[in-house]
Symmetry: C2
Subunit: 365 residues, 2 copies
């Protein structure tokens, strides 16, 4: 390993999960994820708060509608299990059941805990009281004084850090987006402190009649033990980070665009250079060179003599907004035709003002 | 396979070569490459010319100094071998020798062909006459009438396409960057038509005393048989493309920046938020929130009470241009200090004009 002890990075790339894929729910085995992580020894909760600020910034920027970030702490989860009377060897399996609370009602989760996993009913009921709590900094303060929960040192440590976190989130101006939620568990074993998960709130405007259940779109937390597991000398590097589910978000953006009648363009071409006549390849090449050299995204068919209809249909299919048309008549008169593909309106302009006119039109649209 | 018969795409990513790496020459087994390819059946040489236009655009944009793109055609190479009298089973091995002409003088390549590969000396001499030819469209025309070379139908086909290519390159305004060079062979077996390779010309301004020999920085060509090899039904998809050697170019850009005294910055941070006092974390968080929300790239140390010297040194080391400093005195007066890290000049400005002032400074720099 290298000697790097501190770093801050983001990465967009492919990641893989070990479990079997469930294509229907959009859970692929190989998928694309955007990760952001801060590694290193720092004063408590400052990098953690920054991760939540970044998550808010990204989700606001994507304009997916209202969202909420649920926050909890693994130490609060474990402390809660301990004071409720969960046997220590059942912590992980009970945690897995709890993780289903975003998809199942408490009654079903309770049934799984008691009937399938052998938890005493009164222990499950005690958990039930906690996992239905959510709120802001006042809930953190209330639970710090909770007669049962405050018996756990672990839970108190977690609650202390959450209090600090909420202070920083208030300064960052995002406290109203964050909900301390005792039902949040997060499946992954390696989390050691604060955990969080962003969920979109239904925005009926574009979700249509069928409610979209996409689960979390971003999640993360503190994982202080993971790096040491991969370091031959076991050196510890505390870490906190977040992941954004790129595929899920793509899927939502696509649905949103479809609902609003916006087309999803697969190419960025701004201008298409066409001709209705034979033997106009050289003229098209000259025009496209001018456009390219001016930084305009232009395209033409790689044919000596394409049919005009083929060229028109290609533009309509791919939603290229503008078409430049050159023919014999235009060449003779030193002009060029500019066609708006959507409105099918055509204007004739001077050949030499072509680039300026296109730049004007593109800046207006 | 899918039914895609036409496409145009670029990709930046990791690629691998089979041969052993030679780290000294910057030839890694795993490296980063930017590829651009056009696949599909089109009229001759239009996509090929576009690839060369793109190569010129990228290399000009990178401002690496003057460059030249050598162009040849595999059919001209094979035709030349045939008319010079190379036995057909020696085509590939002689081609490999010829490929070394950018690193070795003709005499050494000739020696390899004759002494090691058993080519008749007079055959090698005939090749020698051709491989020392380079020029523009006039050389293409001259060789089309060359008594020996014109006996090969293959060579004539290649020369015909090269003539068309040069016409299009002239229309694209890049003919002066292209040199038809009969010594260009390209090692890879799959090329079937036009081949090209971009080389940087020495620019003594920043190359220093030691001449930089980086070999080619971009290359490509036509490969009409490759897709069919991977299609179970052997369907043919003609292709032409180019690759840009990202690592090599990074290395050159770094050398250029070093030579000109420019520092290579590893972070993009524009503003650092600092304090000389204890217990100013909350104030720094408020300021950094304002900057972030205004889209300014800002950073601070994740410490409750960092030392001012540590903060100053961090900015100098990472070349962050601006520093915002907040302390007791400033807070009391409703002002803030803005420090230019390079000149060490400090001005005091009103707290509320902070974002506007920083945006003004950043737009000026």
């Amino acid at each position: 390993m290298n000697k790097l002890k501190k770093m801050k990075r983001y990465q967009v790339g492919k990641v893989w999960r070990r479990e079997s894929p469930a294509l229907v729910q959009g859970r692929y085995r190989e998928f694309c994820q955007c990760d952001f992580d801060i590694a290193g020894e720092f004063d408590p909760m400052i990098p953690d708060a920054e991760c939540l600020k970044i998550m808010c910034e990204i989700l606001s920027g994507l304009q997916l509608g209202d969202f909420l970030i649920k926050v909890n702490d693994r130490r609060v989860v474990d402390g809660m299990f301990a004071v409720c009377g969960v046997p220590e060897d059942k912590f992980r399996t009970i945690c897995t059941s709890m993780d289903k609370l975003d998809k199942m009602p408490w009654e079903d989760v309770r049934h799984e805990m008691v009937a399938k996993k052998g938890l005493a009913p009164e222990v499950a009921d005690r958990i039930g009281e906690y996992v239905q709590c959510h709120g802001g900094i006042s809930l953190v303060e209330k639970l710090s004084k909770d007669p049962r929960l405050s018996q756990s040192q672990l839970a108190l440590q977690g609650l202390g850090d959450l209090k600090l976190l909420f202070e920083y989130l208030t300064l960052f101006g995002i406290a109203e987006k964050i909900s301390f939620d005792l039902s949040l568990a997060r499946g992954l074993d390696y989390y050691t402190g604060v955990i969080y998960e962003a969920v979109l709130l239904q925005s009926p405007g574009w979700a249509g009649k069928e409610a979209l259940n996409v689960g979390s779109v971003a999640a993360g937390g503190r994982y202080d033990g993971l790096v040491a597991q991969f370091d031959p000398k076991g050196h510890n590097v505390p870490c906190v980070g977040l992941s954004i589910g790129v595929e899920r978000i793509f899927c939502l953006v696509e649905q949103k665009m479809k609902a609003s009648g916006e087309k999803v363009r697969t190419i960025e071409t701004q201008v298409f250079v066409a001709t209705p006549q034979r033997n106009f390849l050289r003229e098209r090449l000259k025009i496209i060179t001018e456009l390219w050299d001016a930084g305009i995204k232009a395209e033409m068919l790689y044919k000596n003599n394409p049919k005009l209809l083929t060229q028109l249909l290609y533009c309509e299919k791919t939603d290229i907004p503008l078409m430049v048309i050159i023919g014999e008549q235009e060449q003779k008169e030193g002009v060029i035709k500019l066609r708006s593909v959507a409105s099918r309106e055509e204007v004739t302009i001077n050949r030499e003002s072509l680039v300026a006119e296109i730049q004007k039109r593109l800046s207006e649209s």
